[in-house]
Subunit: 136 residues, 2 copies
DNA sequence: CTGCATCCCAAACGATACTG
DNA sequence: CAGTATCGTTTGGGATGCAG
């Protein structure tokens, strides 16, 4: 067991982390990437690199605080990289790291699913709300 | 434009919903499905139908309140269905609807990504925390 | 332009007790 | 077993003001 292939390592890692367990770090990570702003930022950066102000404009309604907080966390977790250009005024560009790129298609799928199935969900809600409550 | 195929409807729907816009309902839906408990519940039900108590056991650390709340929302949104059997004691089974099934592989991918990339994220955090803060 | 610090309120959440 | 109800705490997140 001293030598193992990358595939074997990955399989072992997959087994040793279990998001169903509250004590497992992956539960925490799942919570972090399961986030509205994370999805939108990642997908936006997937289209192309973005400046801070470009992200703020594209993610309508995001506050400075949430945007900065989200970007910092994503940077710390190694999903995006931040490049600051010292000029006047200062310019900051964000881009996806390879790790971020690996997550991108998944979160893009989540965002797309929401947009594509909105009608069905609205219909389901309408059914649920108009249906008679079950008698016990 | 009075008649259109289902495919055309879907294409139109896709264009008319944009999660980047704060006023768009899909932004709200994205927020709902971007949820730790939603992922875990959906994936658990993807394995097989589950009773309330089985879910409570599998999702370690979830409170009754959050579990019930999550299940109600998912039911209302048409992602899961709830079947109550009036016996003593009462028995309630949850299962995925076709709409839920369509979301399952996506959220399963999110959960798997978290478990598979935990090591890389931990390493990235370590780098970030030990690195010298950039001087300005 | 790109933040950080602070205040503050509302919503989220956990714990507990109770019910059909 | 499968919830509901209530309470108290924590957290999320917006608004504002300041700084490099």
């Amino acid at each position: 067991m001293t030598t193992q292939t990358a595939a074997q390592s990955r399989a072992a890692a997959k087994q040793s982390y279990d998001a169903y367990l509250s004590s497992c770090p992956s539960r925490n990570l799942l919570d972090r990437i399961s986030d509205k702003w994370v999805s939108l930022v990642l997908v936006a950066l997937g289209e192309s690199d973005r400046r801070y102000s470009e992200l703020a404009r594209q993610l309508a309604g995001v506050s400075q605080k949430m945007l900065t907080q989200t970007l910092r966390t994503l940077e710390r977790d190694g999903l995006i990289s931040r490049v600051m250009t010292l000029s006047v005024p200062v310019r900051v560009d964000y881009s996806l790291t390879p790790l971020g790129v690996s997550l991108l298609p998944i979160l893009a799928a989540v965002k797309d699913w929401a947009e594509e199935h909105m009608d069905q969900v609205i219909a389901a809600r309408d059914d649920y709300d108009t249906a008679d409550p079950p008698r016990s």
